[in-house]
């Protein structure tokens, strides 16, 4: 099968849906060159640097029968738009008793590991998960990003796609034929029987490396949820019930992270809890703003060695 990059795959999803649906509109600071060329400057608008209002514009478009795609670029630029995303995109459909469909797709990159400094190196998905009304994607391969964005582009709801910055130029197989991936369906990246590793975003790849490294010694099941809302709770619970051990890997800061949610999910489920053989563990970014200097940044982020160590630790029985 042909191989293309993550960013190309994402772009293809948008192009295909824009071809089918003339009511799709694209908003971003700076040019989306391929899109403009094909779809023209009416539908593909360059915006001033004014995120709160162009996200608001997308909401107004969606409430008026259009479908809007907003590319915020880096997640940190979206912080000036959180009122429109959290107070409006997430809530209007509900507040208005279902009168308004709001098909808005908001894309932004996340993650650290490129010396971007504290503001540009963030993975803030958990705060959006605490706001009901949004669907939340965290695609980790070219195949997934295309299939999930395709689905997002026919979904009648606000969808946020968090796209790990460092994966943008990673390559992977993507079929030529059209396909859609369902939301709420995790991918099992590797089957295993000793321990379940749920790994988010770029960490799905790093966790897989860790699992391969341990092969022969520890049989690790690696789950990539792919979408955080809806979250494939059943896939996670099923796996943990089988293995009895859980490690969650997430480069976001640990406190109140998506990893915390997944640990809470597994431990508060009675059946799963009863099968737990060890305390679930989180391997996350440390609770500090991400520092610029490479040795500092490396220290605060999860990596293969830390994941391996955590897997080894949960394989021991609880101490006390």
């Amino acid at each position: 099968m042909r191989k293309i990059t993550y960013d190309q795959a994402a772009n293809e999803a948008i192009q295909e849906e824009f071809r089918k649906n003339p009511r799709c509109v694209h908003l971003s600071t700076d040019l989306a060159a391929d899109l403009t060329e094909e779809f023209g400057t009416e539908r593909v608008r360059v915006t001033p640097i004014a995120e709160n209002s162009f996200v608001g514009t997308a909401i107004g478009l969606a409430g008026s029968g259009f479908r809007a795609v907003v590319n915020l670029r880096m997640a940190t630029f979206g912080f000036v738009a959180l009122d429109q995303i959290m107070n409006h995109a997430a809530k209007l459909t509900y507040m208005f008793g279902g009168q308004a469909k709001l098909p808005v797709l908001i894309r932004m990159t996340v993650g650290a590991g490129f010396s971007g400094g504290a503001q540009h190196s963030i993975s803030p998905y958990s705060m959006f998960m605490n706001v009901p009304g949004l669907k939340i994607l965290l695609p980790t391969t070219p195949y997934d990003v295309k299939g999930l964005l395709k689905t997002a582009l026919v979904d009648p709801n606000p969808v946020i796609s968090f796209e790990p910055f460092l994966l943008g130029r990673s390559e992977g197989e993507v079929p030529e034929e059209e396909y859609f991936l369902p939301f709420g369906k995790a991918a099992v990246r590797k089957r295993g029987s000793d321990v379940t590793v749920v790994a988010l975003g770029r960490m799905a790849h790093v966790a897989l490396e860790a699992a391969v490294e341990l092969e022969g010694k520890i049989s690790t099941e690696v789950i990539d949820p792919r979408t955080l809302v809806p979250l494939d709770r059943q896939a996670i619970l099923r796996s943990v019930r089988k293995t009895g051990r859980l490690v969650v890997v997430d480069e976001a800061c640990r406190t109140c992270s998506a990893a915390s949610e997944i640990v809470a999910l597994a431990s508060s489920d009675r059946t799963t809890f009863a099968r737990l053989k060890a305390a679930p563990a989180r391997v996350c970014g440390l609770d500090v703003p991400i520092p610029f200097s490479p040795p500092l940044e490396k220290y605060v982020l999860p990596d293969r060695a830390k994941i391996v160590k955590a897997i080894r630790a949960v394989m021991r029985r609880p101490s006390a």
């Binding site: 209002s53 996200v55 409430g63 009122d83 107070n87 509900y94 208005f96 279902g98 308004a100 709801n157």
Partner: protein, 321 residues
């Protein structure tokens, strides 16, 4: 665009409907019958009436926290409004929104909103949609003087300006945001200086004279429909009640100001004109009022006799399907 008698009567009827509806709410809120925050539109009726008279059903409006007047003027149903304000299943939002989030998409009223200034960029989206559709429809956005200090105001003006969006900005300058005077909070002095700086034409009008609002909005809407881009109307007015009806905070506006503005009541002024010009006799006026009162009563009865939503209904409408 001078309103003819028929239009004058309609404008008056709309204003009086808003007034009577809001008066009823004042009573019910004081009696403790309505939960939540209710922001009264009394005193500002001429703006919603005068502007919306020029709008087609397909034109869209975006409102703010003080949104009942816009709803009524755009053609929403009093019954479903009242039911919503009471949190009933028959309300526009099935009881999920209440007064502050009232909306009727079927008449192009895209909703009241609880966040000051946030409706402005939503309205640029509605206007953008109208522009893309190319049928000569427009959008209008209502907002207060206080909202003009939020950054989104500036951003929305700029977007409307660079894209020449078919958008009518309607600033309801009632001179205060809660207790803060616009004169204190705004370096510009005159709000209309800001749109003008963005090359958006602007006019300041007396917002309590529905004929003036009608004429100014008529000219603005005609220009916008022709593709001339956005227009800005600043309407000077005054709110009669506290910021919201059940508010505990003291009203700190200067003594006497309210009385002075009550003398400029938009509804009474119009009634007087209609009577003096012989457009409507006292009997006819009384008949209109009685009819409106019956509608408001019916709306209230409808709300009271409607069922609450089922508790589990709370789980629906988080997502559309």
């Amino acid at each position: 665009m001078q309103p003819d008698d028929k239009v004058l009567i309609e404008l008056y009827t709309t204003m009086l409907t808003i007034r009577r509806f809001e008066e009823r709410l004042v009573r019910e809120v004081s009696a403790g019958n309505i939960p939540g925050f209710v922001h009264s539109y009394i005193g500002q009726e001429a703006i919603a009436a005068g502007v919306c008279r020029h709008l087609r059903r397909r034109d869209r409006i975006v409102s703010h926290h003080r949104g009942h007047g816009h709803c009524i003027a755009k053609g929403a149903d009093l019954k479903r409004m009242m039911a919503e304000i009471y949190g009933k299943k028959t309300g526009y939002c099935k009881g999920k929104g209440g007064s502050m989030h009232i909306a009727d998409f079927s008449v192009g009223m895209l909703g009241a909103d609880g966040i000051v200034g946030a409706g402005l960029p939503i309205s640029t989206g509605a206007a953008f949609a109208a522009q893309l559709e190319g049928k000569g429809d427009i959008a209008a956005v209502f907002f207060g003087d206080g909202a003009c200090n939020e950054g989104e105001f500036h951003e929305a003006l700029n977007l409307a300006g660079i894209w020449k969006l078919p958008l009518l900005f309607v600033c309801e300058n009632n001179q205060y945001g809660v207790n803060t005077p616009a004169a204190y909070a705004m370096a510009a002095g005159e709000i209309s200086r800001i749109p003008k700086a963005h090359n958006i034409p602007a006019r300041v009008i007396f917002g309590n004279d529905v004929e003036e609002v009608y004429r100014a909005a008529g000219a603005a809407v005609a220009g916008i429909r022709k593709g001339e881009g956005p227009f800005f109307l600043e309407c000077r007015t005054y709110r009669w009640h506290k910021h919201f009806l059940s508010q505990q905070l003291e009203d700190l506006r200067p003594a006497g100001e309210l009385e002075e503005w009550k003398r400029k009541c938009p509804v009474a002024a119009m009634e007087k004109k209609l009577r003096n010009r012989g457009v409507l006799s006292p009997a006819k006026l009384r008949a209109i009022d009685e009819k409106i009162m019956r509608q408001v009563d019916a709306a209230h009865d409808f709300a009271l006799s409607s069922p609450y939503p089922q508790p589990q209904d709370a789980l629906h409408d988080v997502y559309s399907s």
